[in-house]
């Protein structure tokens, strides 16, 4: 039996979904698949335009893109930890309109405390602090859309 493109894609998806898995080698008949997370084969995804010694000018549509419009993330201090959005959605600071916010700057929180909500199509997820510490920065306005993995709130830990 031969592995199809679809099979390989599925294998890669499974590997990708298992976060603890760092390296895998799969031998199947004459077929060998070697995958390593963050390996050299998959070069870093940061923007970089390698300029090849092009024998002729690039077609306009294939010109390397201008530097990526990546959102600039605020730098974190030594004891600061950012709570990030686990999904894209609308950021809410309080449990319901008119109610006081879950946290304000200066508030001491424990890992299990809810610090905000994210709503996707009427489905609300409560976001936990994840660490013990003090809220030192709130980076998003109430009601704004946040992207996946965007920094929301910064907690300063005591050690």
């Amino acid at each position: 039996m031969e592995l199809s493109h679809e099979d390989v894609k599925k294998i890669l998806e499974i590997i990708d979904a298992s976060e603890h898995l760092q390296e895998l080698e799969l031998v199947h008949g004459g077929f060998r698949l070697h995958v390593r997370r963050g390996a050299a084969g998959a070069a870093p995804t940061e923007e970089r335009a390698i300029s090849p010694a092009a024998p002729e000018p690039m077609a306009p549509t294939s010109a390397p893109p201008s530097p990526a419009k990546l959102a600039v993330e605020p730098a974190l201090g030594e004891r600061e930890i950012a709570i990030r959005a686990p999904m894209l959605g609308t950021f809410y600071r309080s449990p319901a309109p008119g109610e006081p916010p879950f946290v304000e700057i200066g508030k001491r929180v424990q890992a299990d405390d809810t610090v905000c909500l994210i709503e996707v199509m009427k489905l609300f997820s409560s976001i936990k602090a994840g660490v013990d510490g003090v809220v030192t920065r709130i980076l998003v306005e109430n009601g704004a859309m946040v992207e996946f993995n965007q920094m929301l709130i910064v907690i300063t830990t005591s050690q």
Partner: protein, 469 residues
């Protein structure tokens, strides 16, 4: 102007770039939804804004309907273009867009639903007087299958009602294999689609795949833009597409395009759609296969021979505007060919080759040469999605000149860092059968591939221990 000022692109790769371009032409701002793996994509660079919708795995990003609707609403978009694949043919997604007050750039959810269920689509075709492949209704039992097989004869094809992508499909040559094939097809269909329903069709050997491009305004006005021939396939995956088909004449073209328009009219179709036919050159009969309710990968060959922009038309229609031309305005000029350049290694059973594109040196684009791509020097082909790197499209006054200029363009296309299907395309274009237009949908698998000597560059066996680059 249309009511759409800003549009969310719910797709990736070359089609996301294609949609951004069409929007620029229309003066519409674009927001491109990207997974974490695509944050640096060419579409994201070109768009007004990109939003990260989730991690790389499509199930957690490009297939998350709620997230995409939330992203569109949160960035002030009035419309969503789903591209092809992913959510483009999910009626629930189209419905969700509508309920959120967003224009879905595609057909009504009811049309997607009707065409997604293969037997329902066949029924619509029959009501529109469009012939179907001789076949059965729903097969519930082995007995049903035996009765149908007696009537249809062997070889036959078992297909899944919820169908698509060859899953739940079985080719059966003899009665003794029927029961086993029915059983395994049903369980595969249940696993793939959650629906074990099957039906049976006569298998037409040496058939061609010919499809008709239609556009509808949703109010009953339908135009066609001629046909495409996609018979050059490997394992049911299209590799080379051309317009017009080298296998049909004007009379057949007329009958086929009329049938497609009748079918689309039957459902007052809205947006771009493709009516696929199986064409049997021996009997000169054609049969309805299915209707795809989205823009297709190979749409550029139609654009080249008609001079029309299908994605622009799709967006205008979604904004409530009429189609910008009539049937009489459509004139087919010359011949266009498209080659899908995939990051796959033809020498190693077309294994996908994710990795960094070190050299990307495509031929110069002009009126007769077009490249639809999201690749650039330094682009890292992610392992999570399909392997399409670029579509190379040429246009010439006739087929033989189009084949020649495609050959030259492929020869000039410099790519290093990842293996591509370019050598494979060059070998096919040089083959007498292809040049004579004498191929069928199984030709690559049954005749072209087996005939390649082991030493030839296309199929040179490499040491098995080489890891994908």
């Amino acid at each position: 102007m249309s009511g759409i000022a800003r549009l969310l692109v719910a797709n990736r790769g070359e089609i996301a770039v294609r949609i951004v371009r069409a929007c620029k032409r229309l003066g519409i701002e674009t927001v491109v939804a990207v997974s974490e793996a695509d944050q640096n994509s060419l579409a994201a660079q070109m768009a007004w804004r990109a939003v990260c919708i989730g991690p790389a795995a499509a199930g957690q990003s490009y297939l998350k309907a709620e997230t995409l609707v939330a992203a569109a609403l949160g960035t002030g978009c009035q419309a969503i273009h789903p591209g092809y694949g992913f959510l483009s043919e999910r009626p629930a997604f189209a419905r969700m867009c509508e309920q959120a007050g967003l224009s879905f750039v595609g057909p009504l959810p009811e049309s997607i639903e009707a065409m997604g269920e293969k037997l329902a689509a066949v029924g619509i075709a029959e009501r529109a007087g469009v012939p179907r492949v001789p076949g059965s209704d729903r097969i519930e039992t082995i007995e049903d299958a035996r009765h149908a097989a007696d009537r249809i004869g062997f070889p036959l094809l078992i297909k899944a009602n919820a169908g698509g992508g060859g899953r739940g499909m079985r080719l059966v040559h003899a009665a003794r294999d029927l029961a086993g094939a029915i059983e395994s097809a049903a369980s595969e269909a249940r696993a793939a689609f959650g629906d074990p329903a099957l039906y049976i069709e006569k298998f037409i050997s040496r058939a061609r795949h010919v499809e008709v491009q239609v556009l509808g305004d949703g109010k009953g006005h339908i135009v066609h833009l001629g046909e495409r021939d996609c018979s050059t396939q490997r394992r049911y995956q299209k590799l080379i597409e051309e317009a017009p088909s080298p296998a049909i004449d004007d009379q057949l073209r007329h009958r086929m395009t009329e049938a497609a328009v009748r079918l689309a009219t039957q459902v007052a179709y809205r947006s771009a759609g493709t009516v696929e036919f199986v064409y049997d050159p021996e009997s000169r009969n054609f049969y309805f296969l299915e209707m795809n309710t989205r823009i297709q990968v190979e749409h550029p060959v139609t654009e080249m021979v008609t001079g029309r922009d299908l994605v622009v038309e799709q967006i205008r229609i979604a904004g409530g505007e009429p189609i910008s031309f009539t049937q009489e305005d459509i004139e087919l000029r010359g011949h266009a060919i498209e080659c899908r350049i995939n990051a796959e290694d033809p020498a190693r059973s077309f294994m996908p080759c994710p990795g960094c594109i070190e050299v990307w040196n495509p031929p110069q684009e002009n009126d007769c040469l077009r490249i639809d791509t999201h690749s650039y020097p330094g682009y890292v082909v992610p392992p999570y999605y399909d392997s399409l790197l670029a579509k190379l499209i040429v246009h010439a006054p006739d087929r033989s000149r189009a084949i020649r200029s495609m050959g030259e363009a492929l020869a000039r296309f410099g790519i290093s860092g990842v293996a591509t299907t370019i050598p494979f395309h060059r070998a096919i274009l040089a083959h007498k059968d292809f040049r004579d237009g004498a191929i069928h949908t199984r030709w690559v698998d049954q005749e072209f591939m087996p005939a390649i000597p082991p030493s030839a560059s296309v199929a040179a066996p490499l040491p098995a221990q080489a890891a994908p680059g």
